[in-house]
Symmetry: C2
């Protein structure tokens, strides 16, 4: 054990283990998680070379092998609870992704939810036994977020009772679905349904794409890998071009909408039914943001405690870089953010579970609120975590660029979350739509509930951008409740500003849509402020649940840092609205510095509490024992370029060059 | 040609070609650049597969081949002017790096500047004929920025008149030098010089590391590649462990410091002599920031003009995504920044040339100013470009994640600039040291010159953080001169705040060093504001040189957007200092939106003006002709995973799985 990191752990003022229980949701959960994790450590089948040393094809190969092994082992161990499966898989995957991911996350769930009884009897056994391996093909080369824009067609032919599927243009080729390129033999394809001369919009079809026994692509199917990406090397994101592919009528998923044998189209009873999955996945992504940022913080903070560099006082030994104020200022607000997002992730999971109960009872009343919240928080947390991971990476000096640090991998595997499952700016605008609608309802006298209830506040009319001097300043920058209030008021004002911008555009005779577009900068800003308020509030609420005094104290410091750092970074908003005075903003800067010093002794203990095992973190800089340099050397020596002492390029190019000059 | 992009070009209000001349520095320069570039296009030796499809070893192999070919071709064509060589190499390399880069950038220049006459006679012919291929080994595994911390030792043995070189610890292993792993047979090694029982600090030694004919590592040398990184796959950044390596006395570079045969040490005449190269390279990096951000803007803006998505008005065709205000708000400020940095890069190059004339005449008076400016601007521009490239990438939706977009490559090849040649936070603090020193000098009545001369201003004493209402507001947010003034005052106030923070810490009985560390957040902020001011000022100054009315107009719009966007993002500073009123800040937001609309018709023409050839850009999304989708499909089909229809993993794992369940 590195003596610096040992010293750090001795300095902690709280019990790391107890904080881990809080993060896991209780000591039993921690225990069970560790049991499952130990199944992976002790399993020689999962000993492997660093994927960074392998070619793309070998990485994919290794990922398929591991997916197949996981399936067998999960059955062998009898692990069936989704949370436990998730935990097992995360441990196997480390910082990478699963080759068969879409089969589990999209193909099977879609079959479960959208097959009619007869279809279920046919397809579920095939999919559950991996005779049918599937993916979900929605996105096209030229069409992403906007579902109505999809071009793939499925035209019903009553003569043969078949659908004829086509990719009529280059831009209609299905593009991006995970596992589509090489792994899957089936795809749920979303296509525009045409029957009896009418188009009925997007519907889902089960399309066999490869022969189930030879795996060779079927006639009319052009399928392959979309090529190398920023990350996701383990996954064969694919393309699919359909050329007059004929499907039996009952390959359309018919639980809700139907096409009768004669071509008659029957509408689905409600459009809201597919809404829930989307909300669920976005809620999960909030947790993923927390995890990715936690991992990056662990690595950067542990490394900063063992790395010595430069000098603060001349002639003295080089200090730990964690003693530099600038380093603390980079890392501790991100550590606070990782905690904040972890608690927000817990809240979103619980809320989803609560509301999905209502939904299955047919009560959709809470769905718009949850939809808006999950969209905005998905964007807010992924953007923040995305930028934060890179700050952590660059805080590690040169070694942060080495793949051995795991920071490049954590970044490239996480960053797509800013785009998939709803592009972030689009998500922010969806939340804004809900905020503006709620604002208008409140103005019309409706009583709002949920996170937008602040828009009810009577003082809304009075809160206006104005000079600082004119407003009373009652905020206590040391009191979290007071800060929640000030974040709330900021959100309220920015929602109002955005709504007024729309109003002004309309008065300039712009149509509704152009008025919206011309206000979209303000709308995104309003959503951002709303989400920021929600995060500060949920972090503060969480403190109320914490009994242990030492832990309560350190988490309160983190929450205060999170809130004040956010004010410092957005001080213009608070000054502009007259919510804070100039002396208060200066005071915030001073307090932030004090909080950094206050957190310094607990920094390593706070990242230890995330309890992410070395094997899962897979980072030499982030090792629990702090023994960074010897392992960095050992890792480098295994690099493929070191397989031979002399690289062949010397004999091929460099030696001949001399005689050619 | 894609009709959307043709339409964009028709809408431009200025002559693209003329703006290209301004960016190149004149029509002759544009002409010569294009001549050199065409030598590469027309050369079949440089037709190659996308490096993203190759293994690490093959990428390195291809890079060595190209380096060898470039050397031969440059001689064949008689290209010897450094700027023209740079241009040729950039064209060959595209978005990647040169395997032999350090030989040219560090090994040869060090030999030229630090060999004595006899050494030059021996080493220059060897290095110029590539018998000796070299690199520059300074950084160690545990030591980066802080030179005095290096641990490698060179101990003089008078008995044999040799130096004995050692890596006494793991952390002293040389780590990161480009070309060290496999390519070089020599390294300039920086080591602590010990002679006659005294240590004389860091000196440079020429160390043979591989046999010049067999390329096998020499006795006592442990050398290899440091393993895969975030980018730089073409470069064999290496490690070097020295185990009692004996070198003849004259392998120490002796132009300045010397060790006599008996071990007597002779000091160098001045320490400032090695200072110049560092300043030069940092100045160049400012230009690299401009280029990287230009490339990313070209790709994102061209793609946004051909990409249609979602809807603004219901029922109408999907609009070009460049019509969305949020998209303009992401991209146009970055476009403005790319222009700003291009002009700052030109200024830095010219200033360096001017001052280096003085330096060779023995006049070092301007060096501290240039040193501070190059350090700060290196950090300011690389951080901004780094974040900006990622914004461009994520503005392209899913396809920005594809390696075919080139955006991931541009990012990973550029991001190390935030760390190498001086870690950015350290750079900002170096600039801050100069600012605080200048501030104190001004307070003591000294008259400052150069970019810090604003610290002379008498009104400095009067400008204080205060409530907005109390200050007169004379700023015209539509007038660039007025905005330069307000940026200047902000810088001035933030320098003063930082200096006062140090003062306050000293009054709390902190030592000088701790006072500095405890003020370092404020110091970085002050440097940032200083650099921001310099950039706004240099962009504004540049407008004065532009005669063409149409170009002057569009560049003025860009400059205004750059300045106002910076105010919007840092509005807290301007409000806090009372430099702008609340209504003015609101007015800034409105003006920013207007400027986005104003720039919209010229956006594609503005990126066309950078005149970066398709072959050099190597981006399918950024193609000049806008024909994105057909080429994306064609590129994907060449992906290595598509070499076979059925990947072997199906037969190895997926098929057997079914029978095992």
């Amino acid at each position: 054990m590195n003596p610096d990191i040992t010293k750090e752990r001795k300095n902690a003022t709280f019990d790391v283990e107890k904080l881990t229980y809080i993060l896991d949701g209780g000591p039993e959960k921690t225990k069970r998680r560790r049991e499952i994790e130990s199944l992976v450590f002790s399993d020689p089948d999962f000993n492997e070379e660093d994927p960074n040393f392998l070619s793309r094809s070998d990485r994919y190969d290794q990922a398929v092998r591991k997916s197949a092994q996981m399936i067998l082992k999960l059955r062998e161990y009898g692990i069936a609870d989704p949370e436990e499966i998730y935990c097992y898989k995360k441990m196997v995957q480390g910082n990478f992704h699963e080759a068969l991911g879409l089969h589990f996350v999209m193909f099977l769930p879609t079959l479960y939810s959208q097959c009619d009884a007869e279809q279920a009897r046919k397809w579920l056994p095939l999919a559950e036994s991996f005779q049918a391996i599937g993916t979900y093909a929605q996105t096209e080369m030229g069409h992403g977020t906007h579902l109505r824009g999809l071009e793939t067609t499925a035209t019903y032919d009553p003569a043969t009772q078949e659908f004829v599927l086509n990719s009529p243009t280059i831009s209609s080729i299905k593009w991006w679905p995970g596992g589509l390129g090489k792994t899957s033999n089936h795809a749920i394809v979303l296509a525009q349904l045409h029957t009896l001369g009418n188009c009925h919009g997007i519907h889902a079809f089960i399309v066999p794409i490869r022969d189930m026994s030879t795996h060779i692509p079927l006639p009319g199917i052009v399928v392959g890998d979309i090529g190398p990406k920023f990350g996701f090397s383990e996954v064969d994101n694919g393309f699919l071009k359909l050329e007059n592919v004929r499907l039996p009528r009952d390959n359309m998923l018919m639980k809700y909408a139907k096409v009768e044998p004669d071509g008659t189209y029957l509408k689905p009873p409600s459009a809201k039914l597919t809404y829930g999955t989307m909300v669920f996945i976005r809620s999960l992504i909030v947790g993923e943001s927390a995890r990715a940022l936690s991992k990056a913080s662990i690595i950067a903070i542990r490394y900063s405690s063992v790395r010595h560099q430069s000098e603060i006082r001349a002639g003295e030994p080089e200090p730990q870089i964690l003693d530099y104020q600038t380093q603390q200022y980079k890392l501790f607000p991100l550590l606070a953010t990782a905690y904040a997002f972890t608690f927000v992730g817990q809240y979103m999971r619980e809320t989803y579970q609560r509301i999905s109960g209502d939904i299955s009872d047919g009560d959709f009343s809470q769905l718009p609120e949850l939809h808006a919240l999950s969209a905005g928080l998905k964007a807010f947390t992924t953007w923040t975590a995305n930028a934060g991971i890179e700050v952590c990476r660059m805080s590690c000096g040169g070694h942060g660029y080495s793949r051995s640090s795991a920071l490049p991998d954590i970044y490239v595997e996480f960053t797509p979350a800013c785009t998939y499952e709803g592009e972030n700016t689009v998500m922010m605008l969806q939340t804004a739509r809900h905020l503006v609608k709620s604002y208008r309802q409140a103005k019309e006298g409706q009583q709002l509930s949920g996170t937008v209830s602040y828009l009810n506040d009577a003082n809304l009319q009075r809160v206006q951008p104005q000079t600082v001097a004119a407003r009373p300043t009652v905020v206590d920058v040391n009191d979290l409740a007071s800060l929640v209030e000030v974040y709330k008021q900021r959100a309220s004002i920015l929602v109002e500003l955005a709504a007024k911008s729309i109003q002004q555009e309309l008065q300039r005779r712009k149509c509704q849509e152009d008025a919206w577009n011309n206000s979209s900068i303000d709308l995104v800003r309003a959503s951002d402020a709303h989400c920021h308020y929600v995060v500060v509030k949920l972090f503060t609420d969480k403190l109320g649940e914490i009994g242990d005094t030492a832990i309560h104290s350190v988490l309160s410091t983190l929450a205060l840092l999170y809130a004040l750092h956010g004010i410092k970074n957005n001080s213009g908003d608070f000054l502009q609205a007259g919510l804070l005075s100039v002396p208060q903003v200066l005071q915030v800067s001073v307090r932030v510095k004090e909080l950094l010093s206050q957190l310094r002794p607990n920094a390593v203990a706070l990242v230890d509490s995330f309890d992410i095992n070395d094997k899962r973190l897979n980072s030499i800089l982030g090792r629990y024992d702090g023994n960074v340099y010897e392992h960095l050397f050992e890792w480098a020596r295994r690099s493929p370029l070191n397989a031979t002492e002399v690289h062949e390029s010397f004999h091929k190019y460099l030696k001949p060059l001399r005689s050619q000059l």
